[in-house]
Assembly symmetry: C2
Homo-oligomer: 243 residues x 2
């Protein structure tokens, strides 16, 4: 009988959690995947990113009842059910798509690995190698910082960023939280090849401004990206509603 | 009755062509896909290439009875049946894998879009942006020319290259045929977005040295990459056996 009560209790808990539409009424915009910065028609600069984490977040946000716009760089992933997807290539393309979706956006999650730099000049034709030169000098110019740009808009949505670091993860992530003027940052240590990038698993340490204005953090130990996405969406919606 | 004869004629033709093991006894090494040249643990330089053409060639060569080694850069494709696949990332990795497979290789098809340049120095940690600098200078150094290097080996296999061009396709391809010391070159005009790169269709103009020493060419109009691969393998085996 006790077993029955326990089982029934957990069944109810699961049912409630599955049905809790914590993001009902929100328009969530998520960027995912890498961007590609063309040097010429055949060459490009990019970042490692499978897009899996951003797609998992889009799926979790849709399940939480949100209207979801997923702005994706070049990835090989299926669009989650109920999600509106916009495919882009470069950082400038991505910024344009973000700008178009901002007017009624209430929550922005910048999960894309946006290339920091693009070629100053893009060749219209394929750059030919010259036999007499063994090196090539490339001048790169900074791409817009989409995350900081969203956060500084007059009616900015609740803005969440990601930080992929290989060292001093907590230090760099907190600096990024402040520098970019965002509300929350999800930090990954990508030096661990079992996690991040192309892996199906991930771990994260999240930093955010609590209602008191203090930076608070929570650790999420290694789990599937799907599970981590669900956990992050729960934390994000909690914090968003508190503020 | 005439219809029956015609049908029977074509049935025989198809049967013969499907069964003709024109590459029996050959060890074919094919490179496919792009290479990725790391700048640091998160950033890289690459080329557009889905790998579809190289994978289709590997499949066609295996069907023609060859032992096939497919050396593939980062792509999202399944390994064709009966093909031995080696996955690589950078041009230096690819050269190493090619070197390992050369000793008993009789036919080499360089279909990969190898990055011409790599970073002179690869950062062990993620390169941090500095707020005060809007540009970044990158010094690139030339990668080995795998195709030319294979062709100049003492017991070089019959070597076939690919040329993706956006202009003066025939001129550049013939210059490449001579400069690289290879036997045949397959030229694609990648300025047509309906073909090449990520498309399932392709067209090509092939240039090779005939037995007379003269450069001869053949055009393959737009068709599926699978069909083009079968047609190219037929032409390659024809020319290889003639010489």
């Amino acid at each position: 009988e006790i077993l029955q009560q326990v089982t029934s209790f957990f069944d109810k808990t699961v049912a409630i959690s599955a049905e809790s539409k914590t993001l009902q009424g929100e328009h969530v915009v998520i960027t995912a995947g890498p961007t590609r910065e063309p040097l010429d028609p055949v060459r490009y600069l990019s970042n490692h990113s499978s897009g899996k984490m951003g797609f998992a977040l889009a799926e979790a946000a849709a399940k939480a009842g949100a209207q979801v716009t997923l702005i994706a760089g070049p990835v090989h992933l299926a669009t989650p059910a109920g999600v509106h997807r916009v495919d882009v290539e470069s950082a400038l393309d991505m910024q344009q798509a973000v700008a178009a979706s901002l007017p009624d956006c209430t929550l922005f999650i910048g999960c894309a690995a946006v290339a920091d730099f693009r070629a100053e000049q893009v060749g219209a034709e394929k750059i030919k190698k010259t036999a007499d030169s063994d090196t090539m000098a490339l001048t790169l110019t900074k791409n817009p910082d989409i995350l900081a740009w969203v956060a500084e808009q007059p009616k900015a949505p609740f803005t969440v960023g990601f930080a992929a670091e290989t060292q001093k993860v907590a230090e760099y992530a907190q600096a990024k939280l402040k520098r970019k003027g965002i509300r929350m940052i999800v930090a990954n240590d990508v030096s661990n090849s079992a996690l991040g990038f192309n892996s199906d698993d991930n771990a994260a340490e999240v930093f955010w401004y609590a209602a008191t204005g203090e930076v608070t953090s929570r650790c999420f130990q290694q789990r599937s990206k799907t599970q981590l996405a669900t956990d992050l969406i729960e934390l994000i919606s909690e914090q968003k509603h508190e503020q």
